[in-house]
Symmetry: D2
Subunit: 401 residues, 4 copies
């Protein structure tokens, strides 16, 4: 069956999150961005979220989360994303949210005890150390240069990472490295106090909502015991997919909320402003902005739910999540950009949060697979599929003419 | 629940339509466009469709149709639209499909007998006579100028219509007129042999798939009996909505199929052509075209199903159908345009059907509400809704700052 | 000096062309498209153009043309393009205009006498036979498959061409073929009555303004004497550039006129229509269309003049003409598309010529180098130039970081 | 004559600026943005610029500037804009550059002595106090609320301004106020130490290159003597045009340089990076980015020169400058956005200056007339012109059909 009915329980939780964001998170935004988003703020916000009964919607209830399925999470995380600080408050922000998912799917029971439980509880933050400076792993993960060498009772990791979000202040990292013996790649759990894990400078980027920044990291003779291997050695690239496919979609959820916020603020303003003797919201070019935002929010949401349902149904969802990621990252960019424009002189200001959302959102079209990389991957899959399809006579004629 | 599972019965019917289109309709395209799409072709195609068990998927089975619900129809009519002649063959093409829906919802049992049954059976074609030359009803239906005056036992209609699709050769028309006494507008069933109904010249447009063309019509002292009133006098504008909301969505269904056809043909060609020493489909700019087509087909489909479900659930769906119509008419335009580009020198040719689809599709962004009119309507509704919402303190601050 | 002053003599000639198009060409459009654009119409239009003193602006006066330089021609051919039949009337239409240029630059005095003079005089039409069906020469001219073999006193040409505009009814063709001995490609002048030159079927395309259509051609044991070689044997690809660089820009000139026509018609209509109680031209979304058209017409014109000046100054202009061709073909497409939209229900009609311009214009983004091919070529040149530039320290840092 | 030849003297000065930016300005960028762009930096940069012989190209040499005409300034200020700090260094940045122009055109000889000379010399900064918080003057200057009342020997100004760029630290302001007696608007020169001129908080915006920020200002019983009136009382709106038309174009010049910088950095990187086994710059989607940037830079430049020539020739240039402002602000936005994308993970970083340019550039589509306001103005002028044109019969038919 094809159905779009949002169950009552989900709607009630959505409203709870909406109220929490409106009453508790948004009032803190202004000072947060003046003082910087740090762990003090995170701890304060997270305490409030637990109190409000909106904690970690996407995490199984057995682990202490809301226990909502993936499609319901699309609704709830969109609501959390209405403030750029909302996902942090609800403990459903990147990179922790993706790391929780990965640990849940691949972690041993000891690893879950030691890393997943405190992460779900908000007692620590984590980071995901995959990206490397050129010519290492970036848009092309296969270029991975960080190495892991097996020794007696453990491994030694060497390499450089950068743009590692949240590295400063994280309690541990999930590190991706290439097995030096050619047997694939492996993921490791590395404690932040490991002397071989050295967090360097923060790359100065235009976003401002991630505690711990985007850091350079050096792994130098970083020894970890065998128990630090996540899942099995050599399966790192598989696990990357386990993490990345749903992580792309949770990004879409959160940014959809942020885009709706930008749209809502600018539309409210337009209903309130007089320009050339009329309400701004009655002028055709403003109406085009408002309508295009509504249309693209709606298209994004339907497409996102569809992709989430595919993943939730047990399919890999690589292609559906790629399509959704490209479309939604670009659509939300356009929505935010138009909202900035509609807000006029205050559009690039953080007073209205619009400027902050605009600057924060830009990287979404790049991280977790740049639009171009997803397009290449989508096209390759389509072409492969078409090449394998027995063609009808007509198609053949078209192809051959 | 939110679900996207296509039931097995629907999938089976979809495949049946797919095969019918591939084996029976597509082979006739070339000669159809050389000789013109006329009723001879229509009758031949429709006989084959009935034979193949794919007749009128969207029509209740009690009336002789496939009996599929509106969301399932989205899947089946997309498949029919894979050929521009497919909807004609399956008797789910505009304007008949919309007229069937309207007659089913508002017709008396006599009217259903006399007009709906033969229409469903394919024994006649019909037309919908609403649009008028300026300064009459066009994008703004309220500008309606054709008048209806009540006499003893009937009405007299006077006025001019144009761009009336399928008027030449139609067995009857549904005519929209303004009651001369100011009591709203009324819809009338007018037989084609009524001497007051005069079909004039065909406006020369760039599309070529509609039998009966797009005609000028004059209604001159056109007398119809009381039984010719569809539903109740004075409720014409309500009935227009009854017809137009779903009709917008069935247009989206059919054009989605046509866009997929264009995409499929050009992608097949790209997998088959060598250019600059590589497969065309391996070149980045071709991959961008292929991926963007996939992405927008997918976004369109999810959004369309969502809008259809809203309508099927009993809601009016005005806003959802407006959003879907704007997005899908524009997305399919882009898909078709990119497919033409990817096909290169043959892209504007009818040999590949691409040129024909390109020319036929252009009007979709204009008819049944131009994109701009829907945008205005969407914005007005959003603004009204926001004005009525009790604002949170935060939103208020944003709106007032 | 950088100057944009249009000399008085050019402005006077522009006005003369404007009046000729308005008074003589436009009134014939309607019947022309009903009956088909053929040589009868061409001869009639050309006689009128000579009479009106607007003949062949771009051709040297020594040859009987207007004698205007290339930048002035940009102004005059834009004016000619205001009607899709204007360039035909003024003998500045493709493919003859490009062939005249090529013959003038490379033809022997005998060839000029025999081919160029009658072509300038309008006594014959010609065609340019380069494009081949896949896997031959199309977007990639290097794939040329038609062969030329040198014999005693002449050459034998074998191969297939297609999409040869104007082939039916042309007096002669300029044929591009690959020397069978590997010594490059050669251009030949082939008379239409050569028994080895066989014009086949017209590919059915959506444009309608070219007499002679777009044909398949077979060259079968086509013998031509040595005097049929244009310029020198083996230099065909060089000559192709001689022809194509300015030909791209004359296409831009003519289509700029057509786009202005579409814009003018739809804007006039918008100033004349009432919609929702206001002039259509006062509604914001209509104003956005009108303004965007003005803006892109203006940007196109400045860019075109600049590219023409570069070519006229003696530079090769490959890159400038590629940039202009991509921008202007895409900008005029957008302008025409928006004009269709603004004209509403009549937008796709030939009654307003808009539908005709829309359908005719589509191929401009494909022929004479598809946008993608020009983009590849532009990027390759930029990258090569940057690779050769000694980098400043700063750039180096950026490139290496 | 239409000519695009850049005179040798201009080219030499352009190279001088290019070298100055590369050797002196760019190396300071990194620390500048870490520490904030302030007057210390400004003074240091300006001293270096004077030393290098690149001072204030656009200012008449009689006043101590470079003495270049407006079209030449387009070339030189584009070069200055290659670093976001370049215009500040060369004393050709907003708002001072526009204020110099306005003072030169309208200032009395005393005012020029007291305000213009120190401004040209770089001894003070200034600001332009026109924009007001809603419902005051913003996109609609006519909504001006700040009042000026004439007293004996002077005027009293009352009102609130905001988004006043450079207000903090400026030596004086040009203030726009509405004459309380209804006799139009007046511009005043207000010294920063006037007790009635109170600079309030800096609005927190996402740009970072303007010393003095974007401030709220209160004018409270601000008394100025008669000599503080710029030009004549009541002519403020005229003078606003004197300032705004060329100021729009100098914005275009500078941002064109910044866009070229972004394009250059990302293209250099692309020629240097390997991805999927190939140079990034050889991949089709990267080539599309590179080519589109080249194309739009080129279109922007031709259009800008054209508009500058129109203004330099003595025409008002309102429409040409509006067209150029809309096109170039949007084209440079796209260029910068694509460059960010091509640079991948580092695209939003200030390490590559790309992130900084991206954030700084956003407001350009809003200030000095938002795109929508210019579009409205352009459309209104076109429509007015068309309404006044005697129409040809053909146009009439089109308009009336």
């Amino acid at each position: 069956m094809i159905e779009f009915a949002v169950p009552e329980t989900i709607e009630r939780q959505r409203v709870r999150i909406e109220e929490f964001i409106a009453q508790t998170v948004i009032p803190l935004e202004s000072t947060a961005y003046e003082q910087g988003v740090d762990d003090g703020l995170r701890i304060r916000l997270q305490a409030a979220a637990r109190e409000a009964g909106v904690w970690a919607p996407q995490v199984p209830s057995s682990l202490g989360g809301g226990g909502f399925d993936f499609v319901s999470s699309a609704i709830l995380l969109e609501e959390a994303g209405y403030s750029p600080l909302g996902p942090l408050a609800l403990n459903c922000a990147a990179p922790d949210e993706g790391n929780m998912h990965l640990l849940e799917k691949t972690g041993s029971s000891d690893q879950r005890e030691r890393y997943l439980h405190p992460l779900v509880a908000g007692d620590v933050r984590s980071c995901f150390a995959m990206t490397e400076p050129p010519p290492g792993a970036g848009s092309d993960p296969a270029a991975l240069r960080t190495t892991a060498e097996r020794l007696d009772g453990g491994w030694v990791i060497n390499g450089r990472k950068w743009l590692i979000t949240g590295a400063a202040g994280a309690g541990f990292a999930i590190v991706m490295a290439r097995n030096i013996d050619g047997s694939g790649a492996t993921m490791f759990l590395v404690d932040a106090d490991n002397p071989g894990w050295q967090v360097g400078r923060h790359l100065k980027t235009i976003d401002a909502s991630m505690p711990g920044g985007h850091c350079e990291v050096v792994l130098e003779e970083c020894f970890v015991p065998d128990e630090a291997v996540l899942g099995e050695p050599g399966r790192g690239f598989d696990y990357a997919q386990v993490r990345l496919v749903p992580a792309r979609l949770t990004h879409c959820m959160r940014w959809l909320g942020a885009a709706r916020r930008a749209h809502t603020i600018s539309t409210f303003r337009a209903t309130n402003r007089e320009l050339f003797g009329a309400k701004l919201s009655s002028l055709g070019m403003a109406q085009a902005i408002i309508a295009d935002n509504e249309i693209e929010l709606s298209a994004s949401r339907s497409m996102l739910w569809h992709a989430c349902w595919i993943v939730a149904s047990g399919a890999k969802g690589t292609e559906a999540s790629s399509r959704a990621k490209v479309f939604i990252s670009e659509a939300t960019s356009r929505i935010i950009d138009r909202s900035v424009q509609l807000a006029g002189g205050m559009g690039t200001s953080e007073d209205l949060i619009l400027g902050r959302i605009y600057a924060d959102a830009r990287a979404f079209r790049i991280y977790d697979g740049a639009s171009e990389v997803h397009r290449m991957s989508i096209a390759n899959r389509v072409v492969r599929r078409m090449s394998e399809t027995p063609r009808t006579n007509t198609d053949q004629r078209a192809a051959d003419s």
